[in-house]
C-alpha cells in the first residue's frame, strides 16, 4: 500500500519541516510498518525538458541522427536513434550524470559523455521506458522517443517539476494493515497521520448527486443477503470513454496504478482514496438493466477481465443480470461487460460484501485483486454512499455530455450495529504496566475519532464505524490504541514479580539432550536434520509401504508429497550425497516420524475425542565405512551397546530377515520392540565404487524413553585378584562366538569373562576353518585363586573345546 504525501495534503497540512524519514519512523512506531520511502523526483534527477533545434544525419551510421538540443541555459549535441525525431520537438533529455535504463531494461546506468561512431554525444534523448515513465506514456515502438511537444513545457526545466512528479511516497507493508480496513485508502491514512501529529483533518467532501433523468429503469436484487451488506447502483448515460487527464494519471501513478481510461480510472481513484472498491459495467451488456447478487452454481465457468476462464463453485458470490454472470462480486468484473472505447452508457456498482465470503471466492478461483484484498479486511458498509457520490461527481466532471440516467438503487443489509465499549481505566494501566494520565487517554482516543465519556474510572467509548467492523471489538483493542499512541518508548520496563514453583522433571528433554551429546562427542557421530518430507525413492528401497505414509493435499512437487514414516530414507539420501567427499562417516537424527496407520495421544481439539496420527520421535543413524560387512556390523553393534550402557536397558537381539539388509536384528525389551538395526545389501547403492558398507539403526525414541533407567548403582570393587589366560584355537568357520561363549561359561562360575581378541581366516589357515584367540579371566568373590586353580579350569576348557567344537589348539 502506497501513501502519497501529495494526496493526503488535500485534507491536512503536514508540518513544513517534516522529514519523510521522521514521518516513516512515526508511522512505524505507532501504526504500521514502512518498507521504503520513494522520492519521485529523485528518479528524474538531471532529466530536463529539451527542444530539438537542429537535426542532421550521422555521417557514419544510417539509423542515427545528430541533434542540437536547446536545454535553456546551454545547447548540447546528442546522438540519437529515435524513430520519431523532428525539428522543434520537445523531448526529455537525460543529461550527463543522470541515471537511465537502456532500452527500459536491466540496471540503472549513469550517463557519461561518449563518442558514438566518432561523434560526441552529451546525454540522451529518452524513450519513456528509459526514464521509468513507461506506464504513464506507453509506446508501441522501442525506438519511439517520448514526445512532450503537446505539453508546451518551458525548455530547460526539470522534468519532475514539469510533469508534477515530485511526490514522496511511503511504501507500507500490507501485512501490517491486515487488521485495519480503514487504512487501505489515502483518506484513512490522512486521518491516522492527523491523529499522530495532532493535525486538523478536513472532512471528506462530496457534491450531492444531481437530479436524475429517469431514462433507465435500473433494478437490483440481493439474493445472498447474508453475504452482501450494502448494494448501491446507478446508471449514467452519454459518457465518452477517453484517456484520463494528466492529474488523474499522475495520482494513480503515485499509488502504483496504470491508467486505463477516464471511467475505469475514476473507479480506481475512488478505491485508492476511500478504500472502497467499485465497478463500472457497460450498460448495454446488462440485460434488462437488472443486477442480481447471487451464489454461483458449482461447475459454471466465467471469463474475468484478465481474459482467464474461471471455474466457479457455490462459494463464489456473483453479480448477474437476468441471463448471465457479469462479475465475480468483490473480486473482478467480467470480460462480457467491460468498459470499452464504444461504451456510451454505464452502470456503477458500489457494494459491501461479507469479508469471509470474498476471501473464499478469491481462494476458489485463485485470484487476488486490489478489490478482494480490501473487502476481505471487513470494510465499513457506510463508505459506499460517499464512494458513489464521489465517483459520479468525477465522471460528470470528466464527461461534459454525461448525465445521471436513473435513480440510485440502495439495498441496505448492514449488520454492524453502533459499537460502544466500556473500558475500565484500570485495565489500560494494568496491561500497560504504568499509569497513563486520564487526560492523555481521553486525548488519544479523541484524536483517533473515538467518542469518549469518563465516569467512575470507566471509559465509555463509541467506536467510529470505520473501526467497528472487526478491528475494534474488545476492551483490549482500546488498550492497544492508547498504548501505541502514548508510545511504548515511554514505558519503564520491569520484570514480573511471580511466585516460585516446583521444578519440572522432563525425562524426554533430558534424554534427548544426553543422547545427542553422547553420540556426537563420544561416538563420533555428526548430527543432521533432514526435512519432514519423505524421499519416496529410498522409502521404496527400504520396503516402506506408500499407503502408510501421510500424503500432503496441496503440494505440487514429488519431493514434498509425503511425510516421513522413517528417518532412514532421508538419511540414506544424505549419505549418498556425502559419498562424493567422504568414505567413512556416521550420521544421526532425532526427529518426529509420521505414521498414517496409528493414532497419537494428541487430541485434535478440546473435545478429546479425535486424535492426530502417530508422530513418535525416532532416533536413527547410519555408519558408512569402507570395510568388511562383519567389521561394519560390529562397529555399529558397539555403538548400540554403548547406548545400552547409557540408557541402562538390557535389550535382547533377535535376528530378523529384511529384503534390503544382509543381516538385521530387532532390539526387544519385555516383549516390546525398541528398535531395529542391520547392514544394508551392497546393491542398495546404485553406484558403490568405494565398496562401502552401510550399517543402520533406528529406535522408536518415544518407546525407549519408557525403559531408560535412572537406577545406576555402584558395585563394590573385588578384594581378590583375577588370573588371566589366553587361548588360540582352530575351529570350524561356521561356529558362532555366542555358542562357544555359552558353553565356556558353563564350565565354572569362576570364569567371569571370555573375550575374543583376534579372528582370522586365510593364509595359513585350512579351508573351512578359522583361527580364534580369546582372553579368559578367572576370579573368585571369596578367595584369592591359585595359579593351579586356573590351570585346572583351563584344562577342562580345552577338553570341552575339543569334544564339543572339535577345536585344535594353536601355539
Amino acid at each position: 500500500m502506497y501513501l502519497s504525501l501529495n494526496w493526503v495534503k488535500e485534507w491536512l497540512k503536514l508540518p513544513k519541516d517534516l522529514n519523510p524519514h521522521d514521518l516513516a519512523n512515526a508511522l512505524t512506531m505507532s501504526t504500521v510498518e514502512v518498507e521504503e520511502i520513494i522520492d519521485q523526483s529523485k528518479n528524474l534527477d538531471k532529466i530536463v525538458v529539451g527542444k530539438i533545434k537542429e537535426l542532421s544525419a550521422h555521417p557514419q551510421a544510417d539509423r542515427l541522427q545528430v541533434c542540437q538540443v536547446d536545454l535553456g541555459e546551454t545547447t548540447e549535441q546528442i546522438v540519437c536513434g529515435g524513430s520519431n525525431l523532428s525539428k522543434g520537438m520537445l523531448v526529455a533529455v537525460a543529461k550527463v550524470g543522470s541515471q537511465v535504463k537502456w532500452h527500459g531494461q536491466g540496471e540503472l546506468v549513469t550517463l557519461e559523455t561518449v563518442k558514438i561512431r566518432g561523434i560526441e554525444s552529451n546525454g540522451m534523448i529518452a524513450a519513456s521506458s528509459e526514464i521509468g515513465l513507461g506506464d504513464l506514456f506507453p509506446s508501441t515502438d522501442e525506438k519511439e522517443i517520448l514526445d512532450l511537444t503537446h505539453f508546451h513545457f518551458k525548455v530547460g526545466q526539470n522534468l519532475s517539476t514539469a510533469l508534477d512528479l515530485n511526490d514522496i511516497i511511503i511504501d507500507i507493508d500490507n501485512k501490517s494493515i491486515n487488521h485495519r480496513p480503514d487504512l487501505w485508502g489515502q483518506y484513512g491514512l490522512a486521518r491516522e497521520l492527523a491523529a499522530i501529529y495532532r493535525l486538523k483533518l478536513n472532512s471528506y467532501t462530496v457534491k450531492d448527486l444531481p437530479d436524475p433523468k429517469s431514462e433507465i429503469k435500473l433494478k437490483a436484487e440481493v439474493e445472498a443477503k447474508d453475504k452482501c451488506y450494502r448494494y448501491l447502483t446507478v446508471a449514467l448515460k452519454n459518457v465518452t470513454v477517453a484517456p484520463s487527464p494528466w492529474w488523474l494519471k499522475n495520482k494513480l501513478k503515485a499509488v502504483g496504478i496504470r491508467s486505463i481510461n477516464n471511467i475505469v480510472d475514476v473507479t480506481n481513484y475512488v478505491m485508492y482514496e476511500l478504500g472502497q472498491p467499485m465497478h463500472a459495467f457497460d450498460a448495454q451488456a446488462v440485460v434488462g438493466h437488472q443486477l442480481r447478487v447471487i451464489s454461483a452454481k458449482k461447475g459454471d465457468k466465467f471469463v474475468t477481465l484478465d481474459g482467464v476462464k474461471r471455474r466457479l463453485t457455490e462459494d463464489c458470490l456473483m453479480i448477474a443480470d437476468s441471463e448471465k454472470y457479469l462479475a465475480v462480486a468483490g473480486v473482478m468484473g467480467g470480460q462480457n461487460s467491460e468498459i470499452n472505447s464504444a461504451t456510451k452508457d454505464i452502470i456503477l456498482e458500489v457494494a459491501n460484501f461479507k469479508a469471509s465470503s470474498i476471501r473464499k471466492a478469491s481462494t476458489v478461483i485463485a485470484l487476488r485483486s486490489e478489490s478482494s484484498s480490501r473487502f476481505e479486511k471487513s470494510l465499513d458498509p457506510r463508505l459506499t454512499e460517499l464512494a458513489l457520490q464521489k465517483a459520479v461527481e468525477l465522471i460528470l466532471n470528466l464527461n461534459e455530455e454525461a448525465y445521471l440516467a436513473s435513480a440510485v438503487v440502495d439495498i441496505d443489509n448492514n449488520p454492524f450495529a453502533k459499537l460502544t465499549l466500556e473500558v475500565p481505566e484500570d485495565l489500560i494501566n494494568a496491561r500497560f504496566g504504568q499509569i497513563i494520565p486520564t487526560k492523555d487517554i481521553k486525548d488519544i482516543l479523541t484524536r483517533l475519532q473515538f467518542g469518549v465519556e469518563y465516569k467512575k474510572k470507566i471509559f465509555t467509548i463509541s467506536v467510529p464505524s470505520f473501526r467497528a467492523t472487526k478491528d475494534i471489538s474488545i476492551p483490549e483493542d482500546i488498550v492497544e490504541e492508547v498504548a501505541r499512541c502514548y508510545g511504548y518508548d515511554n514505558l519503564t520496563p520491569s520484570l514480573p514479580q511471580v511466585a516460585l514453583r516446583q521444578p519440572i522433571l522432563d525425562v524426554e528433554h533430558d534424554a534427548a539432550k544426553s543422547v545427542r551429546f553422547y553420540l556426537a562427542l563420544s561416538q563420533g557421530y555428526n548430527e543432521v536434520y533432514t526435512y519432514p518430507f519423505a524421499n519416496m525413492l529410498w522409502a521404496e528401497k527400504l520396503d516402506l509401504k506408500v499407503s502408510q505414509h501421510l500424503k500432503m493435499t496441496n503440494t505440487l512437487t514429488q519431493d514434498l508429497a509425503y511425510l516421513n514414516l522413517s528417518l532412514l530414507p532421508n538419511l540414506l539420501a544424505r549419505a549418498e550425497e556425502n559419498l562424493r567427499f567422504f568414505k567413512n562417516f556416521k550420521i544421526f537424527e532425532l526427529e518426529r516420524t509420521f505414521d498414517k496407520s496409528k493414532k497419537s495421544a494428541f487430541a485434535t481439539d478440546a473435545n478429546q475425542d479425535k486424535f492426530l496420527p502417530l508422530q513418535n520421535k525416532h532416533l536413527s543413524g547410519l555408519e558408512v565405512s569402507a570395510t568388511s560387512s562383519e567389521r561394519a556390523f560390529l562397529q555399529m553393534k558397539g555403538t548400540l551397546q554403548s547406548l545400552q550402557h547409557l540408557w541402562q536397558i538390557d535389550w535382547t537381539w533377535e535376528k530378523i530377515e529384511l529384503v534390503h539388509s544382509q543381516v538385521a536384528f530387532q532390539l526387544k525389551n519385555q516383549g516390546l520392540i525398541l528398535g531395529t538395526c542391520g547392514i544394508f545389501n551392497d546393491a542398495i547403492l546404485a553406484d558403490n565404487k568405494f565398496k562401502v558398507k552401510i550399517a543402520w539403526w533406528d529406535f522408536d525414541f518415544s518407546t525407549v524413553l519408557k525403559y531408560i533407567s535412572q537406577n545406576k548403582f555402584y558395585q563394590s570393587l573385588s578384594k581378590f585378584p583375577s588370573i588371566n589366560r589366553d587361548l588360540a584355537i582352530l575351529i570350524d568357520k561356521n561356529i558362532l562366538w555366542e555358542d562357544l561363549e555359552k558353553e565356556l561359561k558353563k564350565v565354572s562360575p569362576l570364569l567371569i569373562k571370555v573375550e575374543p581378541f583376534d579372528v582370522f581366516t586365510g593364509t595359513g589357515i585350512p579351508d573351512g576353518k578359522k583361527s580364534l584367540a580369546f582372553h579368559l579371566e578367572f576370579k573368585s568373590t571369596d578367595k584369592t585363586l591359585e595359579s593351579e586353580d586356573a590351570d585346572n579350569l583351563l584344562a577342562e576348557i580345552k577338553q570341552l573345546l575339543n569334544s564339543k567344537f572339535s577345536a585344535i589348539l594353536r601355539q
Binding site: E33, I177, E476, S494, N526, E577, L612
Partner: protein, 334 residues
C-alpha cells in the same frame, strides 16, 4: 665491577637458552669460563680494588662463579641426553580422536533454553503434525481470516497440517497445565513457500508463553531484554512497535538495537539502527479462554523467536538451506 659481574651473568643466562646444539655450548664455556675467559678477566680487577671493597665483591664474584657453573652443568645435561632420544618431528599435525558434532540448530537451541530455564521457563514439546484447531482456530484465526495468507500451509489428508508456527502449543499447554504458566516451546515449523538462500520451507522457531496475574507490557519488555542479553552475552536494547497477530492484543514487533553498529545505522540494520527480531504481544483473551484460563484474572505475554535466524546470525551462515543439507563439509565445522 659489580655491574660487570651481574651483566655478564645475565648475558650468559640468555645465551644458554638460545643455543641449538652441544657444539655451541662448548664454545660458550670456553669464551666465558675458560682460563682466558671473560670471567677471569673481570676477576683480575679484584686486586685493584680498595681494601674495604674487596671482601664484599670477592664474595659476590664467588657467588656468580658458582651460579654459572650450575647453569652450565644443567645445559650440559640437557644437551647430552638429546642423542639418546628417538627421532621426533613435533611440527607434524596433532593426531585427533574422531569426534562428531552437534547440529548448529541444536547448539543454539540448548544455549537459549538454558538462559530461559534460569528465569524459570520450562521447555515443552508437542505435535509437529497439527490440527487446524490448535494451529489456527484456537489462536483466533478462523477459517477465512486473511492472516492465514501470511502463513502458507502444508495441508495433509484428514484436514491436518504441518504446524506453521510453534504457537500451536499455546492453547495445548494452557489446557494441560493451566495458569500460572511459564514455558518455551522450541521446534520445527513449515511454510509452503519457495526456497532460496534466506527462505526454507522448514525451519526452527522458539515460542515463549507466560501467563500469570497482572502481567504487563512492561514485563514483556523487561523479560525479553534480560533474556536476550543472556543469549547474546551482552547488554542489549529492545523496542516495541505495533504489529498485528490475531492471537495477541496488543501485538508488537520487537526490534533489537543493531549489534553491529550499536544503533548508529549500517547496512545490516538498513541505516535504521534497529533490527527486527520477533513478533510478540499480550495473549488475546480468546486464546486464554480457549485454554480454559479466566481472562478476567490472568493476563500474559507470548513471543515467537526465529531460532533458525539466530543460528544464521550467530555463525554468519549465508544460505539457510545448508542447515538441512546434511552436508558433512558444513556440519563438521561446528
Amino acid at each position: 665491577m659489580e655491574n660487570k659481574l651481574k651483566s655478564l651473568r645475565n648475558l650468559i643466562e640468555r645465551e644458554l637458552q638460545e643455543i641449538k646444539d652441544s657444539g655451541k655450548l662448548e664454545e660458550l664455556k670456553n669464551k666465558y669460563l675458560g682460563r682466558k675467559g671473560e670471567l677471569n678477566q673481570i676477576l683480575k680487577g679484584l686486586k685493584d680494588l680498595a681494601e674495604s671493597e674487596r671482601p664484599r665483591l670477592g664474595q659476590l664474584a664467588n657467588e656468580v662463579k658458582e651460579e654459572l657453573a650450575v647453569l652450565f652443568a644443567k645445559s650440559e645435561k640437557v644437551w647430552s641426553s638429546k642423542g639418546q632420544a628417538e627421532d621426533l618431528d613435533p611440527s607434524l599435525p596433532g593426531i585427533k580422536n574422531e569426534v562428531g558434532t552437534l547440529h548448529p540448530s541444536t547448539l543454539v537451541q540448548y544455549e537459549i533454553e538454558s538462559a530461559f530455564s534460569q528465569m524459570g521457563f520450562a521447555v515443552y514439546d508437542g505435535p509437529q503434525l497439527e490440527s487446524d484447531y490448535y494451529n489456527f482456530t484456537a489462536l483466533n484465526i478462523p477459517a477465512d481470516h486473511p492472516a492465514r495468507d501470511t502463513q502458507d500451509t502444508f495441508w495433509l489428508e484428514g484436514n491436518n497440517l504441518l504446524r506453521t508456527h510453534t504457537s500451536n502449543l499455546q492453547v495445548r499447554m494452557l489446557q494441560k497445565y493451566g495458569a500460572p504458566f511459564r514455558g518455551i516451546f522450541p521446534g520445527r515449523v513449515s511454510r509452503y513457500e519457495s526456497t532460496d538462500a534466506s527462505h526454507d520451507h522448514t525451519f526452527f522457531q522458539l515460542e515463549g508463553l507466560m501467563v500469570d496475574k497482572d502481567i504487563t507490557i512492561g514485563n514483556l519488555i523487561a523479560t525479553m531484554k534480560a533474556l536476550l542479553s543472556a543469549v547474546f552475552k551482552r547488554e542489549v536494547d529492545v523496542r516495541l512497535r505495533p504489529g498485528f497477530f490475531p492471537f495477541v492484543e496488543p501485538g508488537f514487533e520487537m526490534d533489537i538495537k543493531c549489534l553491529v553498529c550499536e544503533g548508529k545505522g549500517c547496512s545490516v540494520c538498513k541505516q535504521s539502527g534497529w533490527v527486527e527480531l520477533m513478533p510478540c504481544g499480550m495473549v488475546h483473551p480468546k486464546v486464554l479462554e480457549a485454554g480454559n484460563i479466566d481472562s478476567k484474572i490472568y493476563s500474559g505475554f507470548a513471543f515467537g523467536l526465529g531460532l533458525t535466524r539466530m543460528v544464521m546470525m550467530k555463525y554468519r551462515i549465508d544460505d539457510i538451506r545448508l542447515l538441512e543439507s546434511g552436508d558433512l563439509r558444513f556440519l563438521k565445522q561446528f
